[in-house]
Symmetry: C2
Protein backbone atom coordinates (compact mmCIF):
# COMPACT_ATOMS: atom_id res chain seq x y z
CA UNK A 1 0.00 0.00 0.00
CA UNK A 2 1.24 3.44 -0.89
CA UNK A 3 2.03 5.69 2.00
CA UNK A 4 -0.47 8.48 2.58
CA UNK A 5 0.99 11.98 2.25
CA UNK A 6 -0.31 14.40 4.85
CA UNK A 7 -0.54 18.04 3.83
CA UNK A 8 -1.40 21.07 5.95
CA UNK A 9 -2.72 23.79 3.64
CA UNK A 10 -2.55 27.44 4.70
CA UNK A 11 -5.02 29.52 2.66
CA UNK A 12 -4.25 33.12 1.84
CA UNK A 13 -6.80 35.90 2.25
CA UNK A 14 -7.69 35.84 -1.46
CA UNK A 15 -8.93 32.25 -1.07
CA UNK A 16 -11.68 33.48 1.23
CA UNK A 17 -12.67 36.88 -0.11
CA UNK A 18 -11.61 38.31 -3.45
CA UNK A 19 -10.31 41.85 -3.37
CA UNK A 20 -12.43 44.31 -5.31
CA UNK A 21 -15.61 42.42 -4.46
CA UNK A 22 -17.99 43.74 -1.77
CA UNK A 23 -16.92 42.21 1.56
CA UNK A 24 -20.26 40.49 2.11
CA UNK A 25 -20.93 36.98 3.41
CA UNK A 26 -22.50 36.14 0.04
CA UNK A 27 -19.34 37.12 -1.88
CA UNK A 28 -17.22 35.23 0.63
CA UNK A 29 -19.28 32.10 0.10
CA UNK A 30 -18.67 32.41 -3.66
CA UNK A 31 -14.92 32.90 -3.28
CA UNK A 32 -14.76 29.99 -0.83
CA UNK A 33 -16.67 27.88 -3.35
CA UNK A 34 -13.99 28.42 -6.00
CA UNK A 35 -11.26 27.67 -3.49
CA UNK A 36 -12.97 24.45 -2.45
CA UNK A 37 -12.97 23.19 -6.05
CA UNK A 38 -9.18 23.28 -5.83
CA UNK A 39 -9.04 21.77 -2.34
CA UNK A 40 -11.35 18.95 -3.41
CA UNK A 41 -9.08 18.34 -6.38
CA UNK A 42 -6.10 17.96 -4.05
CA UNK A 43 -8.05 15.62 -1.76
CA UNK A 44 -9.02 13.48 -4.76
CA UNK A 45 -5.33 12.97 -5.53
CA UNK A 46 -5.22 10.98 -2.30
CA UNK A 47 -3.55 13.52 -0.04
CA UNK A 48 -4.81 13.80 3.52
CA UNK A 49 -5.40 17.46 4.11
CA UNK A 50 -5.98 19.88 6.94
CA UNK A 51 -6.91 23.48 6.20
CA UNK A 52 -5.81 26.64 8.01
CA UNK A 53 -7.23 29.99 6.92
CA UNK A 54 -6.65 33.65 7.69
CA UNK A 55 -9.30 35.94 9.17
CA UNK A 56 -7.89 39.47 9.03
CA UNK A 57 -10.65 41.29 7.15
CA UNK A 58 -13.41 39.17 8.72
CA UNK A 59 -12.38 39.59 12.34
CA UNK A 60 -11.82 43.28 11.59
CA UNK A 61 -15.41 43.68 10.44
CA UNK A 62 -16.79 41.70 13.38
CA UNK A 63 -14.87 43.97 15.77
CA UNK A 64 -15.99 47.06 13.86
CA UNK A 65 -19.68 46.14 14.08
CA UNK A 66 -19.28 45.18 17.73
CA UNK A 67 -17.63 48.51 18.66
CA UNK A 68 -20.06 50.53 16.54
CA UNK A 69 -23.05 48.93 18.29
CA UNK A 70 -21.54 49.19 21.77
CA UNK A 71 -24.31 51.43 23.12
CA UNK A 72 -27.04 48.94 22.26
CA UNK A 73 -25.26 45.65 22.99
CA UNK A 74 -22.04 44.94 24.92
CA UNK A 75 -18.92 44.92 22.71
CA UNK A 76 -17.03 41.66 22.28
CA UNK A 77 -13.46 41.10 23.47
CA UNK A 78 -11.00 40.44 20.64
CA UNK A 79 -10.50 36.75 21.47
CA UNK A 80 -14.26 36.24 21.16
CA UNK A 81 -14.29 38.08 17.81
CA UNK A 82 -11.65 35.56 16.67
CA UNK A 83 -13.78 32.63 17.83
CA UNK A 84 -16.73 34.11 15.95
CA UNK A 85 -14.65 34.44 12.78
CA UNK A 86 -13.65 30.77 13.04
CA UNK A 87 -17.33 29.82 13.16
CA UNK A 88 -18.14 32.11 10.24
CA UNK A 89 -15.34 31.15 7.85
CA UNK A 90 -15.17 27.51 8.91
CA UNK A 91 -18.88 27.10 8.23
CA UNK A 92 -18.47 28.42 4.68
CA UNK A 93 -15.44 26.23 3.96
CA UNK A 94 -16.98 23.05 5.37
CA UNK A 95 -20.21 23.62 3.48
CA UNK A 96 -18.56 24.30 0.13
CA UNK A 97 -15.82 21.70 0.44
CA UNK A 98 -18.32 18.98 1.31
CA UNK A 99 -20.29 19.88 -1.81
CA UNK A 100 -17.24 19.79 -4.09
CA UNK A 101 -16.18 16.45 -2.62
CA UNK A 102 -19.63 14.95 -3.12
CA UNK A 103 -19.63 16.11 -6.74
CA UNK A 104 -16.46 14.05 -7.12
CA UNK A 105 -17.95 11.02 -5.32
CA UNK A 106 -15.55 11.48 -2.44
CA UNK A 107 -17.78 11.47 0.61
CA UNK A 108 -15.28 12.46 3.26
CA UNK A 109 -16.34 14.26 6.44
CA UNK A 110 -15.30 17.91 6.65
CA UNK A 111 -15.23 19.58 10.04
CA UNK A 112 -14.29 22.88 11.58
CA UNK A 113 -12.67 22.64 15.00
CA UNK A 114 -12.78 25.79 17.10
CA UNK A 115 -9.11 26.15 18.01
CA UNK A 116 -7.21 27.84 20.82
CA UNK A 117 -3.49 28.42 20.33
CA UNK A 118 -1.24 28.98 23.33
CA UNK A 119 1.26 31.84 23.23
CA UNK A 120 3.96 32.68 25.76
CA UNK A 121 3.21 35.62 28.02
CA UNK A 122 6.93 36.42 27.91
CA UNK A 123 7.06 36.52 24.11
CA UNK A 124 8.94 39.72 23.20
CA UNK A 125 6.02 40.62 20.89
CA UNK A 126 4.10 41.74 23.99
CA UNK A 127 6.65 44.53 24.45
CA UNK A 128 5.97 45.86 20.97
CA UNK A 129 2.39 45.46 19.74
CA UNK A 130 2.30 45.91 15.97
CA UNK A 131 -1.02 44.62 14.60
CA UNK A 132 -3.69 47.34 14.19
CA UNK A 133 -7.24 46.16 14.86
CA UNK A 134 -10.69 47.76 14.90
CA UNK A 135 -11.89 51.29 14.14
CA UNK A 136 -9.91 54.52 13.67
CA UNK A 137 -10.05 57.18 16.39
CA UNK A 138 -8.93 60.78 16.87
CA UNK A 139 -5.91 61.46 19.07
CA UNK A 140 -8.22 62.56 21.91
CA UNK A 141 -10.41 59.47 21.67
CA UNK A 142 -7.30 57.28 21.52
CA UNK A 143 -5.89 58.88 24.67
CA UNK A 144 -9.19 58.32 26.47
CA UNK A 145 -9.22 54.65 25.44
CA UNK A 146 -5.68 54.15 26.71
CA UNK A 147 -6.70 55.81 29.98
CA UNK A 148 -9.91 53.79 30.38
CA UNK A 149 -8.91 50.39 29.08
CA UNK A 150 -5.13 50.38 28.97
CA UNK A 151 -5.04 49.62 25.26
CA UNK A 152 -1.95 50.55 23.26
CA UNK A 153 -2.99 52.97 20.50
CA UNK A 154 -0.83 53.96 17.53
CA UNK A 155 -1.15 56.45 14.70
CA UNK A 156 -1.81 54.55 11.45
CA UNK A 157 -0.39 56.13 8.26
CA UNK A 158 -2.12 59.49 8.74
CA UNK A 159 -5.56 57.85 8.78
CA UNK A 160 -6.09 58.14 12.53
CA UNK A 161 -5.34 56.21 15.68
CA UNK A 162 -6.00 52.52 16.15
CA UNK A 163 -5.55 49.92 18.80
CA UNK A 164 -2.51 47.70 18.22
CA UNK A 165 -2.06 44.20 19.62
CA UNK A 166 1.00 41.94 19.73
CA UNK A 167 1.69 39.14 17.27
CA UNK A 168 3.37 36.44 19.38
CA UNK A 169 4.63 33.06 18.19
CA UNK A 170 2.26 30.07 18.44
CA UNK A 171 3.58 27.59 21.03
CA UNK A 172 0.95 24.87 21.32
CA UNK A 173 -2.44 24.01 19.85
CA UNK A 174 -4.87 23.22 22.67
CA UNK A 175 -7.17 21.04 20.55
CA UNK A 176 -4.36 19.05 18.94
CA UNK A 177 -5.52 15.77 20.52
CA UNK A 178 -8.75 16.05 18.62
CA UNK A 179 -7.17 16.47 15.26
CA UNK A 180 -4.95 13.50 16.01
CA UNK A 181 -8.10 11.42 16.26
CA UNK A 182 -9.67 12.84 13.11
CA UNK A 183 -6.82 13.38 10.70
CA UNK A 184 -6.91 9.96 9.05
CA UNK A 185 -10.51 10.05 7.95
CA UNK A 186 -11.67 13.64 7.97
CA UNK A 187 -10.70 16.95 6.44
CA UNK A 188 -10.27 19.29 9.37
CA UNK A 189 -10.41 23.07 9.27
CA UNK A 190 -8.40 24.33 12.22
CA UNK A 191 -6.45 27.24 13.68
CA UNK A 192 -8.60 29.73 11.75
CA UNK A 193 -7.01 33.18 11.78
CA UNK A 194 -3.96 31.64 13.43
CA UNK A 195 -6.11 30.35 16.30
CA UNK A 196 -7.76 32.08 19.25
CA UNK A 197 -4.76 33.32 21.24
CA UNK A 198 -4.68 32.13 24.85
CA UNK A 199 -2.11 32.11 27.63
CA UNK A 200 -1.83 29.43 30.30
CA UNK A 201 -3.07 30.74 33.64
CA UNK A 202 -1.95 29.64 37.10
CA UNK A 203 -5.10 27.63 37.54
CA UNK A 204 -4.46 24.90 34.91
CA UNK A 205 -6.61 26.78 32.43
CA UNK A 206 -6.28 28.97 29.38
CA UNK A 207 -7.29 32.58 29.13
CA UNK A 208 -8.06 34.47 25.92
CA UNK A 209 -5.96 37.53 25.15
CA UNK A 210 -5.97 40.26 22.53
CA UNK A 211 -3.31 39.23 20.01
CA UNK A 212 -2.99 38.14 16.40
CA UNK A 213 -1.13 34.93 15.62
CA UNK A 214 0.25 34.69 12.10
CA UNK A 215 -1.79 32.02 10.34
CA UNK A 216 1.19 30.62 8.37
CA UNK A 217 3.14 30.15 11.60
CA UNK A 218 0.08 28.53 13.20
CA UNK A 219 -0.18 26.20 10.19
CA UNK A 220 3.50 25.35 10.68
CA UNK A 221 2.85 24.48 14.32
CA UNK A 222 -0.12 22.32 13.33
CA UNK A 223 1.92 20.56 10.62
CA UNK A 224 4.66 19.74 13.14
CA UNK A 225 2.27 18.57 15.85
CA UNK A 226 0.42 16.40 13.34
CA UNK A 227 3.62 15.02 11.83
CA UNK A 228 2.56 16.15 8.36
CA UNK A 229 4.80 15.58 5.36
CA UNK A 230 4.17 18.83 3.55
CA UNK A 231 3.30 22.36 4.59
CA UNK A 232 1.58 23.97 1.58
CA UNK A 233 1.32 27.74 1.87
CA UNK A 234 -1.01 29.30 -0.70
CA UNK A 235 -0.73 32.94 -1.63
CA UNK A 236 -1.25 35.27 -4.62
CA UNK A 237 1.89 34.31 -6.56
CA UNK A 238 2.95 31.07 -8.19
CA UNK A 239 6.52 31.29 -6.97
CA UNK A 240 8.58 33.08 -4.34
CA UNK A 241 10.85 35.69 -5.92
CA UNK A 242 14.01 37.53 -4.95
CA UNK A 243 14.43 41.12 -6.09
CA UNK A 244 10.63 41.18 -6.20
CA UNK A 245 9.18 43.86 -8.52
CA UNK A 246 12.66 44.89 -9.69
CA UNK A 247 14.10 44.47 -13.21
CA UNK A 248 16.25 41.60 -11.95
CA UNK A 249 13.37 39.73 -10.24
CA UNK A 250 14.10 36.02 -10.11
CA UNK A 251 11.40 33.43 -9.43
CA UNK A 252 12.57 30.46 -7.40
CA UNK A 253 11.48 26.89 -8.11
CA UNK A 254 13.31 25.51 -5.11
CA UNK A 255 15.53 26.76 -2.31
CA UNK A 256 17.31 25.12 0.57
CA UNK A 257 16.66 26.40 4.07
CA UNK A 258 20.21 27.81 4.07
CA UNK A 259 19.52 29.86 0.95
CA UNK A 260 16.14 30.97 2.26
CA UNK A 261 17.73 32.23 5.46
CA UNK A 262 20.38 34.13 3.50
CA UNK A 263 17.68 35.76 1.36
CA UNK A 264 15.70 36.69 4.49
CA UNK A 265 18.79 38.37 5.94
CA UNK A 266 19.29 40.26 2.69
CA UNK A 267 15.76 41.64 3.09
CA UNK A 268 14.19 40.06 0.01
CA UNK A 269 10.86 39.30 1.66
CA UNK A 270 8.30 41.80 2.95
CA UNK A 271 7.46 41.60 6.66
CA UNK A 272 3.81 40.72 7.28
CA UNK A 273 3.60 39.33 3.75
CA UNK A 274 6.14 36.89 2.23
CA UNK A 275 8.52 36.94 5.22
CA UNK A 276 6.37 34.96 7.70
CA UNK A 277 5.62 32.43 4.94
CA UNK A 278 9.31 31.82 4.34
CA UNK A 279 9.91 31.66 8.10
CA UNK A 280 7.15 29.09 8.49
CA UNK A 281 8.43 27.10 5.51
CA UNK A 282 12.01 26.99 6.81
CA UNK A 283 10.88 26.14 10.33
CA UNK A 284 8.89 23.19 9.06
CA UNK A 285 11.51 21.87 6.61
CA UNK A 286 14.12 22.01 9.36
CA UNK A 287 11.94 20.37 12.01
CA UNK A 288 12.46 16.75 10.90
CA UNK A 289 14.19 14.96 8.01
CA UNK A 290 11.93 14.47 5.00
CA UNK A 291 9.60 17.34 5.73
CA UNK A 292 9.21 19.97 3.07
CA UNK A 293 7.30 23.16 2.43
CA UNK A 294 5.82 24.55 -0.76
CA UNK A 295 4.75 28.14 -1.42
CA UNK A 296 2.53 28.70 -4.45
CA UNK A 297 -0.86 30.00 -5.58
CA UNK A 298 -4.16 28.23 -5.09
CA UNK A 299 -4.41 27.64 -8.82
CA UNK A 300 -0.99 25.99 -9.06
CA UNK A 301 -1.30 23.95 -5.87
CA UNK A 302 -1.98 20.59 -7.48
CA UNK A 303 0.89 21.02 -9.96
CA UNK A 304 3.17 22.18 -7.17
CA UNK A 305 2.45 19.03 -5.15
CA UNK A 306 3.59 17.06 -8.24
CA UNK A 307 6.77 19.16 -8.35
CA UNK A 308 5.71 21.04 -11.47
CA UNK A 309 5.18 24.49 -10.03
CA UNK A 310 5.62 26.62 -6.92
CA UNK A 311 8.67 27.10 -4.73
CA UNK A 312 9.90 24.08 -2.81
CA UNK A 313 11.69 24.78 0.47
CA UNK A 314 13.75 21.79 1.64
CA UNK A 315 16.47 21.09 4.15
CA UNK B 1 -15.56 -4.06 32.02
CA UNK B 2 -18.57 -1.94 32.80
CA UNK B 3 -20.47 -0.65 29.85
CA UNK B 4 -19.94 3.04 29.13
CA UNK B 5 -23.08 5.14 29.33
CA UNK B 6 -23.33 7.78 26.64
CA UNK B 7 -25.18 10.96 27.52
CA UNK B 8 -26.13 13.88 25.29
CA UNK B 9 -26.59 16.94 27.49
CA UNK B 10 -28.75 19.85 26.31
CA UNK B 11 -27.87 23.01 28.25
CA UNK B 12 -30.54 25.62 28.95
CA UNK B 13 -29.95 29.33 28.45
CA UNK B 14 -29.23 29.89 32.15
CA UNK B 15 -26.20 27.58 31.86
CA UNK B 16 -24.57 30.07 29.50
CA UNK B 17 -25.66 33.48 30.71
CA UNK B 18 -27.36 34.19 34.02
CA UNK B 19 -30.41 36.39 33.84
CA UNK B 20 -30.03 39.67 35.69
CA UNK B 21 -26.33 39.85 34.86
CA UNK B 22 -25.08 42.17 32.10
CA UNK B 23 -25.09 40.21 28.83
CA UNK B 24 -21.34 40.62 28.31
CA UNK B 25 -18.83 38.05 27.11
CA UNK B 26 -17.08 38.33 30.48
CA UNK B 27 -20.26 37.45 32.40
CA UNK B 28 -20.95 34.63 29.97
CA UNK B 29 -17.49 33.19 30.59
CA UNK B 30 -18.21 33.23 34.34
CA UNK B 31 -21.58 31.53 33.99
CA UNK B 32 -20.08 28.95 31.63
CA UNK B 33 -17.33 28.35 34.20
CA UNK B 34 -19.89 27.38 36.86
CA UNK B 35 -21.72 25.16 34.40
CA UNK B 36 -18.50 23.42 33.45
CA UNK B 37 -17.84 22.48 37.09
CA UNK B 38 -21.04 20.45 36.90
CA UNK B 39 -20.27 18.99 33.47
CA UNK B 40 -16.77 17.98 34.61
CA UNK B 41 -18.34 16.30 37.63
CA UNK B 42 -20.59 14.25 35.34
CA UNK B 43 -17.66 13.33 33.11
CA UNK B 44 -15.68 12.18 36.18
CA UNK B 45 -18.47 9.74 37.01
CA UNK B 46 -17.41 7.92 33.84
CA UNK B 47 -20.20 9.02 31.52
CA UNK B 48 -19.28 9.84 27.94
CA UNK B 49 -20.82 13.19 27.21
CA UNK B 50 -21.65 15.42 24.29
CA UNK B 51 -22.90 18.94 24.91
CA UNK B 52 -25.56 20.88 23.00
CA UNK B 53 -26.26 24.50 23.96
CA UNK B 54 -28.77 27.18 23.07
CA UNK B 55 -27.81 30.51 21.51
CA UNK B 56 -30.96 32.67 21.54
CA UNK B 57 -29.71 35.78 23.33
CA UNK B 58 -26.21 35.50 21.81
CA UNK B 59 -27.27 35.16 18.19
CA UNK B 60 -29.80 37.93 18.82
CA UNK B 61 -27.07 40.30 19.93
CA UNK B 62 -24.78 39.33 17.04
CA UNK B 63 -27.61 40.07 14.61
CA UNK B 64 -28.43 43.32 16.39
CA UNK B 65 -24.84 44.60 16.17
CA UNK B 66 -24.61 43.47 12.56
CA UNK B 67 -27.83 45.27 11.56
CA UNK B 68 -26.95 48.38 13.56
CA UNK B 69 -23.55 48.66 11.83
CA UNK B 70 -24.91 47.93 8.37
CA UNK B 71 -23.86 51.27 6.92
CA UNK B 72 -20.20 50.75 7.82
CA UNK B 73 -19.85 47.00 7.22
CA UNK B 74 -22.13 44.57 5.36
CA UNK B 75 -24.71 42.87 7.60
CA UNK B 76 -24.46 39.12 8.14
CA UNK B 77 -27.12 36.64 7.00
CA UNK B 78 -28.81 34.82 9.87
CA UNK B 79 -27.15 31.46 9.17
CA UNK B 80 -23.75 33.13 9.45
CA UNK B 81 -24.79 34.79 12.74
CA UNK B 82 -25.59 31.27 13.98
CA UNK B 83 -22.18 30.00 12.90
CA UNK B 84 -20.57 32.92 14.71
CA UNK B 85 -22.51 32.15 17.89
CA UNK B 86 -21.30 28.53 17.77
CA UNK B 87 -17.70 29.78 17.63
CA UNK B 88 -18.33 32.23 20.48
CA UNK B 89 -20.16 29.95 22.92
CA UNK B 90 -18.25 26.80 21.96
CA UNK B 91 -14.95 28.56 22.62
CA UNK B 92 -16.07 29.53 26.14
CA UNK B 93 -17.37 26.06 26.97
CA UNK B 94 -14.32 24.22 25.65
CA UNK B 95 -11.97 26.56 27.48
CA UNK B 96 -13.76 26.32 30.82
CA UNK B 97 -14.57 22.61 30.63
CA UNK B 98 -10.96 21.73 29.83
CA UNK B 99 -9.87 23.66 32.90
CA UNK B 100 -12.38 21.99 35.21
CA UNK B 101 -11.38 18.57 33.87
CA UNK B 102 -7.68 19.26 34.37
CA UNK B 103 -8.37 20.36 37.95
CA UNK B 104 -9.85 16.88 38.46
CA UNK B 105 -6.90 15.14 36.74
CA UNK B 106 -9.12 14.10 33.86
CA UNK B 107 -7.25 15.23 30.79
CA UNK B 108 -9.85 14.56 28.13
CA UNK B 109 -9.94 16.55 24.88
CA UNK B 110 -12.84 18.99 24.56
CA UNK B 111 -13.79 20.22 21.13
CA UNK B 112 -16.39 22.39 19.48
CA UNK B 113 -17.56 21.17 16.09
CA UNK B 114 -19.21 23.78 13.87
CA UNK B 115 -22.45 21.99 12.99
CA UNK B 116 -24.93 22.25 10.15
CA UNK B 117 -28.35 20.67 10.65
CA UNK B 118 -30.51 19.79 7.66
CA UNK B 119 -34.18 20.76 7.68
CA UNK B 120 -36.86 19.88 5.16
CA UNK B 121 -37.87 22.67 2.80
CA UNK B 122 -41.39 21.26 2.92
CA UNK B 123 -41.58 21.38 6.72
CA UNK B 124 -44.92 23.05 7.54
CA UNK B 125 -43.04 25.48 9.80
CA UNK B 126 -42.03 27.38 6.66
CA UNK B 127 -45.70 28.26 6.11
CA UNK B 128 -45.92 29.84 9.54
CA UNK B 129 -42.73 31.54 10.76
CA UNK B 130 -42.95 32.08 14.52
CA UNK B 131 -39.49 32.91 15.89
CA UNK B 132 -38.80 36.66 16.19
CA UNK B 133 -35.17 37.64 15.53
CA UNK B 134 -33.20 40.89 15.41
CA UNK B 135 -34.19 44.50 16.06
CA UNK B 136 -37.63 46.09 16.44
CA UNK B 137 -38.97 48.28 13.65
CA UNK B 138 -41.90 50.63 13.08
CA UNK B 139 -44.77 49.46 10.87
CA UNK B 140 -43.43 51.60 7.99
CA UNK B 141 -39.89 50.22 8.31
CA UNK B 142 -41.26 46.69 8.56
CA UNK B 143 -43.29 47.14 5.37
CA UNK B 144 -40.22 48.46 3.56
CA UNK B 145 -38.16 45.46 4.71
CA UNK B 146 -40.82 43.03 3.48
CA UNK B 147 -40.86 44.87 0.15
CA UNK B 148 -37.06 44.98 -0.23
CA UNK B 149 -36.02 41.63 1.18
CA UNK B 150 -39.16 39.53 1.32
CA UNK B 151 -38.84 38.96 5.07
CA UNK B 152 -41.95 38.07 7.06
CA UNK B 153 -42.47 40.74 9.73
CA UNK B 154 -44.84 40.45 12.71
CA UNK B 155 -45.98 42.76 15.46
CA UNK B 156 -44.38 41.66 18.77
CA UNK B 157 -46.48 42.28 21.92
CA UNK B 158 -46.91 46.01 21.33
CA UNK B 159 -43.12 46.58 21.29
CA UNK B 160 -42.82 46.99 17.53
CA UNK B 161 -42.34 44.88 14.43
CA UNK B 162 -39.74 42.17 14.08
CA UNK B 163 -38.64 39.69 11.51
CA UNK B 164 -39.93 36.18 12.16
CA UNK B 165 -38.34 32.98 10.88
CA UNK B 166 -39.61 29.40 10.88
CA UNK B 167 -38.65 26.77 13.42
CA UNK B 168 -38.52 23.52 11.41
CA UNK B 169 -37.70 20.06 12.72
CA UNK B 170 -34.07 18.88 12.54
CA UNK B 171 -33.76 16.03 10.04
CA UNK B 172 -30.05 15.22 9.83
CA UNK B 173 -26.77 16.43 11.30
CA UNK B 174 -24.29 17.05 8.48
CA UNK B 175 -21.18 16.58 10.64
CA UNK B 176 -22.40 13.42 12.36
CA UNK B 177 -19.61 11.31 10.87
CA UNK B 178 -17.10 13.40 12.71
CA UNK B 179 -18.68 12.99 16.08
CA UNK B 180 -18.84 9.24 15.46
CA UNK B 181 -15.07 9.26 15.24
CA UNK B 182 -14.59 11.44 18.33
CA UNK B 183 -17.27 10.37 20.74
CA UNK B 184 -15.31 7.64 22.51
CA UNK B 185 -12.38 9.77 23.55
CA UNK B 186 -13.44 13.38 23.42
CA UNK B 187 -16.12 15.63 24.85
CA UNK B 188 -17.75 17.24 21.85
CA UNK B 189 -19.74 20.45 21.82
CA UNK B 190 -22.08 20.27 18.83
CA UNK B 191 -25.30 21.56 17.32
CA UNK B 192 -24.93 24.89 19.14
CA UNK B 193 -28.15 26.86 19.00
CA UNK B 194 -29.82 23.82 17.45
CA UNK B 195 -27.28 23.86 14.60
CA UNK B 196 -26.85 26.11 11.56
CA UNK B 197 -30.04 25.41 9.56
CA UNK B 198 -29.39 24.26 6.01
CA UNK B 199 -31.47 22.72 3.24
CA UNK B 200 -30.19 20.27 0.67
CA UNK B 201 -29.83 21.92 -2.70
CA UNK B 202 -30.11 20.29 -6.14
CA UNK B 203 -26.38 20.34 -6.52
CA UNK B 204 -25.40 17.80 -3.82
CA UNK B 205 -24.72 20.65 -1.43
CA UNK B 206 -26.25 22.37 1.56
CA UNK B 207 -27.43 25.94 1.69
CA UNK B 208 -27.87 28.05 4.81
CA UNK B 209 -31.32 29.46 5.51
CA UNK B 210 -32.87 31.81 8.05
CA UNK B 211 -34.51 29.56 10.62
CA UNK B 212 -34.22 28.58 14.27
CA UNK B 213 -33.98 24.91 15.18
CA UNK B 214 -35.03 24.06 18.72
CA UNK B 215 -31.87 23.04 20.56
CA UNK B 216 -33.58 20.27 22.58
CA UNK B 217 -34.91 18.70 19.40
CA UNK B 218 -31.44 19.00 17.82
CA UNK B 219 -29.95 17.32 20.90
CA UNK B 220 -32.52 14.54 20.50
CA UNK B 221 -31.48 14.07 16.86
CA UNK B 222 -27.83 13.95 17.90
CA UNK B 223 -28.56 11.46 20.68
CA UNK B 224 -30.35 9.16 18.22
CA UNK B 225 -27.69 9.44 15.53
CA UNK B 226 -24.97 8.74 18.09
CA UNK B 227 -26.86 5.87 19.68
CA UNK B 228 -26.65 7.51 23.09
CA UNK B 229 -28.22 5.88 26.15
CA UNK B 230 -29.53 9.00 27.84
CA UNK B 231 -30.78 12.38 26.67
CA UNK B 232 -30.28 14.76 29.59
CA UNK B 233 -32.16 18.04 29.18
CA UNK B 234 -31.12 20.71 31.67
CA UNK B 235 -33.39 23.61 32.48
CA UNK B 236 -34.29 25.92 35.39
CA UNK B 237 -36.38 23.46 37.38
CA UNK B 238 -35.48 20.24 39.15
CA UNK B 239 -38.56 18.38 37.95
CA UNK B 240 -41.23 18.63 35.31
CA UNK B 241 -44.59 19.57 36.80
CA UNK B 242 -48.22 19.30 35.81
CA UNK B 243 -50.58 22.09 36.84
CA UNK B 244 -47.45 24.24 36.93
CA UNK B 245 -47.76 27.36 39.13
CA UNK B 246 -51.24 26.33 40.31
CA UNK B 247 -52.25 25.28 43.85
CA UNK B 248 -52.42 21.67 42.68
CA UNK B 249 -48.96 21.67 41.02
CA UNK B 250 -47.51 18.18 41.00
CA UNK B 251 -43.83 17.51 40.39
CA UNK B 252 -43.12 14.33 38.47
CA UNK B 253 -40.23 12.01 39.29
CA UNK B 254 -40.96 9.74 36.35
CA UNK B 255 -43.45 9.45 33.55
CA UNK B 256 -43.99 7.00 30.74
CA UNK B 257 -44.14 8.30 27.19
CA UNK B 258 -47.87 7.49 27.19
CA UNK B 259 -48.46 9.70 30.22
CA UNK B 260 -46.26 12.44 28.84
CA UNK B 261 -48.26 12.50 25.62
CA UNK B 262 -51.52 12.67 27.54
CA UNK B 263 -50.20 15.60 29.60
CA UNK B 264 -49.07 17.35 26.41
CA UNK B 265 -52.56 16.98 24.96
CA UNK B 266 -54.05 18.39 28.15
CA UNK B 267 -51.87 21.47 27.66
CA UNK B 268 -49.73 21.13 30.77
CA UNK B 269 -46.52 22.30 29.11
CA UNK B 270 -45.77 25.77 27.71
CA UNK B 271 -44.94 25.94 23.99
CA UNK B 272 -41.40 27.22 23.36
CA UNK B 273 -40.48 26.30 26.93
CA UNK B 274 -41.25 22.92 28.56
CA UNK B 275 -43.23 21.54 25.62
CA UNK B 276 -40.32 21.01 23.17
CA UNK B 277 -38.30 19.43 26.00
CA UNK B 278 -41.05 16.88 26.66
CA UNK B 279 -41.43 16.31 22.92
CA UNK B 280 -37.68 15.68 22.57
CA UNK B 281 -37.65 13.42 25.64
CA UNK B 282 -40.57 11.29 24.38
CA UNK B 283 -39.13 11.10 20.88
CA UNK B 284 -35.83 9.80 22.23
CA UNK B 285 -37.29 7.34 24.75
CA UNK B 286 -39.52 5.90 22.02
CA UNK B 287 -36.76 5.67 19.41
CA UNK B 288 -35.21 2.40 20.65
CA UNK B 289 -35.65 0.05 23.62
CA UNK B 290 -33.53 0.99 26.62
CA UNK B 291 -33.21 4.66 25.77
CA UNK B 292 -34.37 7.16 28.33
CA UNK B 293 -34.55 10.89 28.82
CA UNK B 294 -34.14 12.98 31.96
CA UNK B 295 -35.26 16.55 32.49
CA UNK B 296 -33.77 18.37 35.47
CA UNK B 297 -31.69 21.37 36.52
CA UNK B 298 -27.95 21.73 36.04
CA UNK B 299 -27.46 21.49 39.80
CA UNK B 300 -29.38 18.25 40.13
CA UNK B 301 -27.94 16.61 37.01
CA UNK B 302 -25.53 14.25 38.74
CA UNK B 303 -28.17 13.11 41.21
CA UNK B 304 -30.69 12.71 38.41
CA UNK B 305 -28.32 10.42 36.51
CA UNK B 306 -28.21 8.25 39.66
CA UNK B 307 -32.01 8.24 39.73
CA UNK B 308 -32.22 10.49 42.79
CA UNK B 309 -33.68 13.60 41.20
CA UNK B 310 -35.20 15.00 38.03
CA UNK B 311 -37.97 13.64 35.86
CA UNK B 312 -37.29 10.38 34.06
CA UNK B 313 -39.14 9.84 30.80
CA UNK B 314 -39.19 6.17 29.77
CA UNK B 315 -41.02 4.00 27.31
Amino acid sequence: MEEIIKVVIALGGNAIQESGKPPTAEEQLKAVGKTCEKLAGISCQGYEIAVVHGNGPQVGRILLASEYAKDITPPMPFDVCGAMSQGYIGYHIQQQLKKELRKRNRDLPVTTIVTQVVVDQNDPAFQNPTKPIGPFYTKEEADAITRDKGYVMKEDSGRGWRRVVPSPMPKKIVEVDTIGRLWKSTIVIMCGGGGIPVIEDDDLGYEGIAAVIDKDLAAERLAEEMDANILLILTEVERVAINFNKPNQENLSEISCEQAKAYMEEGHFAPGSMLPKIQAAVMFAESKPGRKAIITSLYKAEEALRGESGTLIYN
